[in-house]
Point group: C2
């Protein structure tokens, strides 16, 4: 194979990436030129010789996936997309790098332009999402065959990605599952922000990856011939493949390359000019010579041809309809009906169950009705109740199952779920303890930022966890989720609300949901008709009064039953008490003011929730009373812990008495 | 060396751990017997033959440190402490395992009993704290010599600890720094909660650790002779040492050992009886035969002797006073004076600087005045401004410096800081971007739960970060810290408040502090006398009115200057407007109601903060107005981002107009 394309050398094609990157960073006077310039040769080979993507059909299902995990090098991705001819990635967008409203944000943002497969920047997230994508590919492949699904997933990463802990979780899982169509390119440039990587690491990355079950390769990252050869080898690997590309950061900048100076700021006009001279780039800023543009467009043709060939296979495939429904994650039309029927059963049976068990009941309905859900847990399957009847495990080399044993890897699980959701074909949900939100936060935030459907099953959601004690008892975690934009936190009060929360989460295609579920049993509180999904309004009057209220008690989750008990006792004393269940604040916030007012009422308000107060003042008002946690928890049986911290019906009754005295 | 102690076999000594553990879990009907029973033989050898701890002086500075990173096996630690004779760990405490108010919580809780060196349970935290302890030991050793500081740090860990991402950060840093007095014992039992570890991993742990620069060993975890031999070898290692102990989980329980059934619940009365028979344990529950108790007490004598020998060396040491001051992290008596003098300089110079720069100015004073601070950054030194003049790097084999290059390891950095603080001798602070709170949360929570002095330097604290965009712009992170119990979040408005925040943080020995610091410059807002540290009250009236207020504007950090500007414009329109700066909500909450009321006032309130609203309703009241973020941020120069999201003085002026119209 000649190391050129349409008569243009791969080096010149790479120099187009270098020039666009340094020019865009220079104009913005902000950004990271070092990585795009250092990895330009690898990118030129990969995108011109291998990557099957089609700028004219950027969402084609069987395209190769490319993830820039070292997302600060975003100009590499934008440059390549522009050069290949992605219609949204115009030269104006390149010129508007890092400006308000441009598609070319500081780090690649999913949704800003077709062709950006994931939001990256927080280090290590991209490679872990790529594991999810590679797994989704294998899962679809086993279901629908090579003709319909058979593509590679490529990820670029740097020292940062590989130092972050999440990288360990990602590569351990990928190696275990033998995801042999996954290829990492490590920008092995020996430089981080603080200086030489020798300042902080002495690792042997190849030995590390081999210990995790990968095949590894090393290559001179500025030798196109060698790069091509090593990619061909990596593609044949029976395990995921790791290619250490020895590069010089900022390659081409004669006075700054190879140093941390070139990592994160503009080169400056002088060095930009010197680089032009050094790499023989004579055209002006943002101008790519015609032959080089043509060569890049020629490179894009193999993607178009691959897409066209795939479309022919798809048209001939007997399982086309099934594939398309799966890929689109179409939910069964009668799901709402099935869920409502299950709610009706609950109202009849009135089970006293933990909401984690109620979640399993809801999942039985969903997983039974649809093939798109993929469950899993970070090694807490028996506690999270995430594995419904008949779900088989995904195993190394066998991807037919619908249940992922994520291991003790909450962060990895969450980012892998992001990757699965981004790939298409599945709706992932995964479980851990609510407290371990802490470990998964980096990826949960990206679910919300990207606006994708991932469901977090967070059981043991309060001090009700009991004996495991303070390290395992969430206090601040509900607030953490509530403070996060574009994320729904559900804390259902009983099996009916849990079912409703799941119904909503399944339909929310543009935001993730977090289920806060109890370890301990709760009574069924809802009665009467359950055809309407009341959780959809976020909060509603669970128990109303005859006539004007004396007191309104607000609550969520396991404390709603305490509120109901307190209300009964207060009513026995002749007071009129309403109980409001607030399973999802975010949905309640979206209701109109009149509805919100009607629910909250004008009577004095007491809130009870076994968690931190932060946020409750919005609902209780300045004269309201909050019963909850002001410290970390304690290790003891749950009922004793509740009593110890004064989160009881007694406390509500007492507070009501105090308030009405005023 | 005979494999016995005072005529009792090590196996019988180990069986005492097994019996106490299974009995305590059985009585509580809650807990994890599998790990203590599996690791009992290793523990018996380690504690009887090696560990230099003295139950009568549990805080002796040069004791070996032992960390149970797989903290769910807490009964192992409690059993050993009881058997060695730690006075607080009575048999009653063992019998009250996991009960309210006992010292024997579900997971080891720092502070519950002397001898528990760290709170563990969230997996991977313990081993990472042990890296911090081993580093603190080397740092003190280099400063004060072998006579005063020269001890080992031992950590037990399981598959969970080693699957968690933080383990990668921990072992990469420890290997790099050549912490050769650190020894890990891996409970290699092949079992996790979901079942066989083959379900989720295929890693070669020894190869992994070797790639990270460790020496590794393997041993039969039920062969005392082999265990003793391997520990002797590990002690001689020139690198940190990893010992894979092949064990059988729940060893001794004839029908359940080696399975996941024995991991996390009581064995049941029948299996407890069968185990007694199987291991030849004839005494009743919670009764340890006299000869075995004697053997364990005999084991404790070597620790007492070591402590006594050390005390003699200490008494003779010319540098005793310096060592004791350092170990106690004594701050210079004139620090408050020096800080106030630096504030006076600020008021004179009126610099327009970013608060991250102001933080560096404060640190120059602190680091210049004291030797106890140890700085660092997760590879953002030039951005976090954490390395003051003259701080030298800690390097492999050279621990004389005071600055740690943590690498791109926010979680690892935070847990290592916890370990350093727990060890004694240093006050650690470390920097990253505020957004990467997400990566560090697991360890930050433990700083707060343990109640230790660690300072988090979180720069780039809002959309004011600008071009890097949404992935790097904190929105929910202030709320995350504010919701966390026992943690102080400071968001200073100018260089004076930044100095005050640092002064407070240095004095807070029982809780961690988080500094929210700006990338962008802010004017100096404080004037007049700065001898009083106004930040100490959490919030105060920065700009007062003559007579009754028409409006009160509340704010923090970089938005306080917007509040001041808005106030000026409103006053030009004839209104009386107070501005309240609220750098630390937690401290404000601790003031008496009268002070809080006097600060907040009774006039309509507007709050402005470039962050999520959650929590602000507590201060603005039900009719208040909040100006802040309702979504993720955007990539653009900071002033444009502020304008785009309407976080401006204009917005305050407009809101005031609307409120006064009502």
């Amino acid at each position: 194979m000649p190391h050129e394309m349409a008569g243009v050398s791969l080096r010149d094609m790479a120099n187009a990436i270098r020039a666009l990157s340094m020019d865009a960073v220079q104009k913005a006077n902000s950004g990271h030129p070092g990585m795009p310039m250092g990895m330009a040769d690898v990118a030129a080979v990969l995108f011109s010789k291998f990557l099957r993507i089609d700028p004219s059909q950027p969402h084609w299902p069987n395209r190769d996936r490319f993830i820039l995990s070292n997302g600060h090098g975003s100009m590499l991705q934008y440059s390549v997309m522009h050069l290949l001819g992605f219609p949204e990635m115009t030269i104006e967008e390149i010129e508007n790098f890092r400006q308000l409203g441009s598609r070319t944000a500081g780090h690649p943002e999913y949704g800003h332009a077709a062709g950006i497969e994931a939001t990256t920047g927080p280090l290590g997230q991209g490679i872990t999402m790529s594991v999810g994508m590679a797994l989704a590919e294998r899962m679809l492949n086993q279901r629908f065959g090579d003709d319909l699904v058979d593509h590679y997933t490529y990820a670029f990463c740097g020292d940062g990605c590989l130092m972050e802990g999440i990288s360990h979780e990602a590569i351990d899982l990928a190696g275990h599952l033998k995801l042999n169509k996954l290829i990492f390119f490590f920008d092995d440039n020996h430089i981080s922000i603080d200086g030489d990587t020798k300042l902080s690491t002495s690792i042997d990355q190849r030995e590390r990856f081999e210990a995790h079950g990968w095949n590894t390769f090393a290559v001179d990252g500025h030798d196109p011939e060698a790069i091509e050869k090593v990619i061909l080898e990596a593609q044949k690997s029976d395990k995921p493949a790791f290619i250490a590309c020895r590069t010089i950061i900022g390659y081409g900048a004669p006075n700054m390359q190879g140093t941390d100076k070139v990592h994160g700021s503009a080169l400056g006009a002088d060095e930009v000019a010197a680089t032009r001279k050094n790499i023989g780039w004579t055209s002006k800023a943002f101008v790519v010579p015609e032959p080089i543009t043509k060569a890049w467009h020629a490179a894009a043709t193999k993607g178009r041809e691959a897409r066209e060939a795939w479309e022919k296979r798809r048209d001939a495939a007997p399982n086309r309809a099934a594939f398309e429904a799966q890929y689109a994650t179409a939910l069964p039309e009668n799901l709402a009906e099935l869920m409502a029927a299950a709610r009706a059963d609950v109202v009849t049976d009135k089970p006293n169950v933990a909401t984690r068990k109620a979640s399993e009941m809801a999942l039985e309905v969903i997983n039974g009705a649809s093939e798109v859900t993929i469950g899993g847990s970070a090694d807490l399957t028996p506690s999270n109740n995430t594995r419904t009847k008949g779900l088989k495990d995904i195993a190394p080399g066998d991807y037919a199952g619908r249940y992922i044993r994520y291991g003790i890897r909450e962060h990895g699980m969450s980012a892998v779920m992001n990757g699965i959701a981004l790939h298409g074909g599945f709706v992932p949900y995964g479980g851990t303890f609510m407290c371990f939100t802490d470990y998964a936060r980096g990826a949960i935030r990206l679910s919300a930022l990207m606006g994708i459907r991932v469901v977090y099953v967070m059981t043991h959601d309060s001090i009700g966890l009991g004996e495991d004690g303070p390290t395992h008892q969430p206090i601040e975690h509900l607030a953490i989720h509530r403070a996060t934009p574009n994320l729904l936190l559900f804390r259902p009060a009983d099996a009916v609300e849990t079912n409703e929360a799941w119904e909503i989460a399944m339909g929310e295609t543009k935001r993730p949901s977090v289920m806060a579920l109890s370890r301990q049993g709760v009574p069924t509180l809802r009665s009467g008709s359950v055809s309407e999904n009341k959780t959809r309004k976020g909060a509603y009057v669970l128990k109303d009064t005859d006539g004007p209220r004396d007191i309104t008690i607000l609550s969520t989750g396991t404390e709603v039953s305490l509120a109901v008990e307190a209300a009964k006792r207060l009513e026995a004393n002749g007071l009129k008490v309403a109980v409001v269940s607030m399973p999802c604040w975010e949905l309640f916030e979206e209701q109109d003011a009149a509805y919100r007012k009607s629910v909250l009422g004008t009577a004095p308000r007491i809130a009870i929730e076994a968690a931190a107060r932060l946020g409750w003042d919005r609902w209780i008002g300045e004269d309201g009373h909050f019963i909850g946690m002001t410290s970390f928890g304690a290790s003891a049986p749950a009922p004793e812990v509740y009593k110890h911290f004064g989160i009881t019906a007694d406390a509500v009754v007492e507070a009501a008495g105090e308030m009405l005295k005023r």
